[in-house]
Symmetry: D2
Subunit: 278 residues, 4 copies
């Protein structure tokens, strides 16, 4: 079992009043047990939490006045993945997919699966279906896209990444998702706190694909062990789970993410197991 002390510090300069919709708190479920948790806002303003009934992503909303705004979230989390043998995990025929997964078959802003359908079929259509096929997509993305920070923007989407072949974890995830959807595998975008991320960055972006009867985690980026990623948000793509959607004139002045092992934790390691944490 893994135990992490997590924290996220965000600082903003507000030229006027602004509304924030934050997605920085970890999902609470049987696999992610939060033993301690704190969310501070400076100056103090009321906050309101919304838990999405499907994804259980937690959104914090607040309205802040012009001036400085500092946000700090910290938590201690016990993380235990559902672990399975990849060879035993099948794709689900469309006829048997739960209705809630439909939306994750459709194209979205940053995952234009409709435009990438032929490419997906050509590259992966003949592979045996199952967990291994999604893993093969991840390997392909890792092998074809170069990780270079600062080369892409918040407007970059899978369609561009397929051609331009450069990006960061967000782009790797979007392309993987688009390919999965093009093959009728429900896939969604996930963000989380990743232990041992190298290079250390901010929130990590990865992928969940619906296989067997649950959402399995995949990481086409492979820069951190999957067993060390604590899930925060899941959505159709990055548009849905930005750590901070801001409505108003705000400039970020600080961002600091820390993920440390808590006492008595196992150490996350890279591995090929099938993992799920919901």
């Amino acid at each position: 079992m893994m135990r992490f002390n997590l924290s996220c510090e965000l600082g903003y300069d507000l030229a006027g009043d602004a509304d924030f919709l934050l997605n920085v708190a970890v999902v609470k479920n049987a696999y992610q047990r939060v033993s301690e948790e704190e969310f501070d806002v400076e100056p103090k303003v009321p906050t309101q939490e919304y838990v999405d009934p499907q994804s259980r992503s937690r959104y914090l909303r607040l309205h802040a006045r012009a001036g400085k705004l500092n946000l700090r979230y910290q938590a201690t989390v016990e993380l235990e993945h559902f672990i399975a043998d990849p060879a035993a995990i099948a794709e689900v025929p469309v006829a048997d997919l739960p209705a809630e997964t439909f939306q994750f078959l459709f194209p979205s802003r940053y995952c234009e699966s409709d435009l990438l359908a032929r490419m997906a079929l050509r590259e992966f259509g003949a592979l045996p279906p199952g967990h291994s096929r999604v893993a093969a997509i991840c390997d392909w993305v890792k092998g074809h896209v170069e990780y270079v920070g600062g080369t892409t923007t918040s407007q970059t989407s899978a369609y561009g990444t397929a051609t331009q072949q450069v990006g960061v974890c967000r782009d790797f995830a979007h392309l993987t998702i688009a390919f999965c959807r093009a093959l009728n595998i429900p896939a969604r975008y996930a963000t989380g706190y990743a232990y041992g991320l190298d290079p250390p960055s901010d929130f990590h972006a990865y992928v969940e694909a619906y296989l067997g009867n649950r959402w399995f985690t995949f990481d086409p980026n492979q820069m951190a062990p999957r067993t060390g990623v604590v899930r925060v948000g899941t959505g159709r793509d990055a548009a849905d789970v930005s750590f901070a959607t801001i409505f108003g004139p705000a400039t970020m002045s600080e961002m600091k993410i820390a993920v440390d092992l808590a006492p008595a934790s196992d150490i996350p390691r890279h591995g090929a197991e099938a993992l799920a944490n919901c």
Copy 2:
């Protein structure tokens, strides 16, 4: 009160087995009362209905064998809109938006509100907020985009329509939605049976924007009276509410939509009232 007899006939040739996810049945709620309804599939196969808990859109799923497939939906619907004075309907501050509306603020596959933010602000940012601002967006779209059948494809999105200024009702709706979202007004894509559509076409696409405390209908296309549109599906954009999402080798051989006045119905007329039917 309006009363309509609706029908939709779809014919397909299947070169192999295929799964269908149909969104042709009308939403049932206090404003849309279905007195009779029938769904036939030829050859007979089991169908499964799923009602989206939020939108109440109804999806029919079925698995069909290679060969011919004919689908026929028909219904008699009483339609009564919630009617209000546009001048009395305000935009909702982000801080007060219901959490379920958040997703309709974010960009989606065919409504790239992130890319259209400056254009939206320049054109509509200074207008007084409220129902009239969304109506002004509709007028702008009507005035700047030419209706020409066959000029766009299922891959056309708001970003392209903003520049190329040509399209069909689907494109008018996507562009309107993108502008609304860029102004922090939740907006969603709606499809329906439209009485008096000129030119007669297939399902009509239009827009719902969240104002006051409900989803009001708007029609940038203005080719049919809004009071004569029976709602079928709502989603983030056309990707979510295709009348037929098909997984397998199917070719459409027939499509026929009919919307007739039933006895004792009022006659839908164009008007400037604020309307909602959910």
Copy 3:
């Protein structure tokens, strides 16, 4: 030696006056000897010929009145390619390229070599330079892009084709050109009359790459023998050598291209030789 009887018939309905810039006449040079040639316009209007000094492409300009317009070009052409051993043909270092070839290194409307640079380097960067590398690019394009008529439009460009992997000869050519330019190989778009085109279509689009000290022809589409293609226009991409650029309200009512063997001609065959005809 090949001898062809060529013809091209074009019919238009003009709703008003229109200017035409036609690029249907074959290039005249030492490799393409025109023994007979005729250009008819009905109704009679004055025409003006312009020969581009670099490409020797021939443009016919005319101004036509509203009504019907019929154009007919026919020619008898002896075609003899410069033939060489592909293994003997090297790429030219940038430092030694003739200045006139520079423009064919730069990205153009339908050949976004800047956006495809990484893909080109990853796929072809490690191949030994020379005629064989361009041939390898052609094979890759043939292998990755599916030929399906009617799937692309006059707005489709190499960037889209790289991802969507479907198109016609025009699209095959654009993608090949973009890859060549990304590797610093000057490449240009060529149109011509192709003997034995299967399926028979209109003008054929192919590629010329500057290697050794001349422009060698390549055909990523491979639907007609290269020895049977009579060159008409060359330019940066399809924008430069449309068979008819029309300024005014014209609708095409007829298009007929014929390419027949003249007496005493050899029969064009597929082969792997390096070919040039300028």
Copy 4:
């Protein structure tokens, strides 16, 4: 008459050998008389000049070894524009355009006039033709596009600028050119040394449109007086006249452009005259 002392200093770090194609030297013609000129390269390498026969743009080519490379160009230039009354300058009917201008009617990499045709017609189609129409396009671009440094990249094109409405002088020029071409006005991209550029930047990008019987200069950006701009390069768009096209692993370490009034010069002023310098 204007007299300027110009200079351009460029520094590069080369991780390996690289070829440079420089377009930093001013055009020499009757309107731009160069009294002194010097081009230094450190370390010394042979350079080769190529003057494009049509545009008279001057390209310097050199091959440099790994290590540091410093380039310095300086010149003293007398600049005298052809000046005319805008009201007297007509557009040229397509039938009368010189053949060399055709290529500037076609879409290019960064000026997708084909995609912007409807927008151009809607906005400018009804304006009286002539110099004033191109000036109106410039005003529209200035009014709709916000100047913000760092918002666009070398991949940004007119199509994007039309929608995203932000950019730098390069983007203003591309959009203006695309609109002109869509209206059948030949237009090309120009770069130059601009006196009094505010904010001071690097080379200035502006527009030349073919009207009357010559190329008139336009500046949609309006950040420097047109009478104080010394022409360097002209081409179909920025792809053709980059100040440095580099083939090899080079990183720019320095860029300094200076444009000073020489003794006895008039002072450039903003004005509405029609200007040409070729």
